[in-house]
């Protein structure tokens, strides 16, 4: 189990006309069982959802959360708060300020992620995974693809610093990257969604592994749900 949790990877999951979120559950259970520290940035579902699936997969998420192995960032709650609060009050601490304020970026969200997983010096302590579910929700809520891409770039630098191939020579060889990122982007083939396509292209460029999940080319079948390719 330990060997399959690879460090220094930025895994991008994309789904087209189907739902790739089962892979999020898979990675979540894999890394929690592997003993990694996981930060789950949940923008699409509530904690109860991951917990319910986790119990079926044999991973007790509530206990992991209490112990501190799992850090959960509740995107739904932040978004709801941003939506219903009056303009003057309550915006101060919300990491999703960018949803109301056009001039803000996702910097507060990055700061929150950093405080959740790093020690006081700002360095990763032990192997850590950042799991983002999912980035297309941010685009749907109005954040520009560029802002999301910048956010992911900062996260990648935080989690996997030795990833850039051409920089490897210059980096100190003892600095082994401790972290990994897995994120999900929707990329429906039948619809032209420019922002999502732009975001996908940026993420594919940054990523080391791309898992594409799609339906069967021969049509809908009940028993076989789809196919996935690895790039």
């Amino acid at each position: 189990m330990e060997d399959s949790c690879v460090r220094g990877q930025f895994v991008l999951i994309s789904d087209s006309l189907t739902d790739g979120s089962f892979l999020i559950h898979h990675f979540l259970s894999l890394y929690i069982k592997g003993g990694w520290k996981v930060c789950l940035l949940a923008l699409a579902q509530s904690f109860g959802h991951y917990n319910a699936v986790g119990q079926k997969l044999g991973v007790p998420l509530t206990q992991a959360r209490e112990k501190g192995q799992l850090r959960f960032i509740d995107g739904l709650k932040c978004s709801l708060q941003m939506y219903t609060c009056a303009p003057q009050e309550g915006q101060g601490e919300n990491p999703l300020r960018a949803l109301r304020d056009k001039k803000a970026t996702l910097r507060p969200l990055y700061d929150l992620v950093k405080t959740q997983i790093c020690s006081e010096e700002g360095v990763l302590e032990g192997p850590t995974l950042l799991l983002v579910d999912d980035l297309s929700v941010l685009v749907s809520l109005g954040v520009s693809a560029k802002d999301v891409s910048d956010f992911m770039h900062y996260c990648r630098v935080l989690m996997c610093p030795t990833q850039q191939g051409y920089c490897r020579v210059l980096m100190c060889p003892t600095q082994q990257s401790q972290g990994a990122i897995v994120s999900l982007v929707h990329k429906d083939a039948d619809v032209e969604d420019e922002e999502n396509s732009t975001l996908f292209r940026h993420m594919a460029y940054h990523g080391t592994v791309h898992l594409a999940v799609e339906g069967l080319s021969s049509g809908y079948s009940r028993d076989v749900h789809g196919q996935s390719n690895l790039y």
Binding site: Q45, S79, S140, L141, R222
Partner: protein, 398 residues
Amino acid sequence: MAASMGKGGVTSFQKKSRTKTLQIPGTRPSSHGNQLLVSTGVPSLDHIIGGGIVVGTVLLVEEDSFGNYARLLMKYFMAEGIMTRHPLLLSSAELHPKQLLRDLPAPVSDDIGKAALHQENVSSEKNVEKEATMKIAWRYQNLRTEQPELGAFSQFGHYYDLSKTMSSEMTDTAPSRLFYLPDELPLEEQGMWNGIRNPAYVKLLQSIQDVVREGQFDLTVPQPKDMSRTVLRIGLHSLGSPLWGEQDGGTSHDTSLPHFLHALRGVLRTSLAACLITIPTHLFQDMAFTRRLEKLCDSVIRLESFAGSEKEQNPAYKDYHGLLYIKQLSQANSLLSYMPDCNDFAFKLRRKKFAVEKLHLPPELQDSQQREQDDPVAALKTPSTGCFSISGKSKLDF
């Protein structure tokens, strides 16, 4: 949160603990996962979406061009809520919600009979009938003849008669909160809004939150154990229509409705509520916008009516009034959504009821088919058999 309260129990390691199922009349646990379901009011529709609407999720109905069938589904949903004594929250911008409620289909008569029977005092009924002493089954002599818990309101899914309307005493006594947009938000505020949030949607979400809080549907607030709980039914009719202030026909840049849906999901996941939304997506110019809305809802079906289109004359469709597409099914609290065994459904509206059925192609269409070039059977991309005889005939004719 909704799942941990509503499901059949804790993990298998703790078999001895008490099960925490919520016994709410009018709901039933899903066979697919540990979730609570409510009925949409149309049993055939319940069957194809996996048993019903999962409590805590949203069912999106993409409207047909004239909106009739979507309005009918909304009426069924509300009627089911009245029959099961679930409180209602109904919002509408064009039609006053009271008008919608006045026109609900009446339940089929034996259900009313059962409901009336329940309301009578069971003991007085026993006194009236003569108790003939049982000779054979004398052990059962002392048991009650009637089980008072099983009334019509705890049944899941009722049958309705569209030719009659529900009595006004039933609709008036049902607990409901109506949101009629012109009353809630004065016209000046509705018209032009700059900024990211449409005030109409914000007002609607705030009233939903108020109802959830006041009616004690919120699952994050601990309630006394013996309090009987019920499910709130939220119906949002024709959201996203131009009357709600959707400008530009919903281009990708307008994030007001997606943000509303995302925030609504945040409210619903921690509440005992189920939501049915109808949106006229055929008005939106940008398919990407529709796709984003779909991703933010849990289950999505689309209605396409034949009225006024060339499909009306198509002999393959002659029994039906429209097609129903399942675009997405709820994945909340489970790894996979419910997988139906086929995806070709059509609906028909008879005089008394609305039903959804699997679309079957007849094995051979009649010779009265005049125009071979508009071969309807070849145009249907269903995996059923029977296409080959027709297309063979047209080849020979050329």
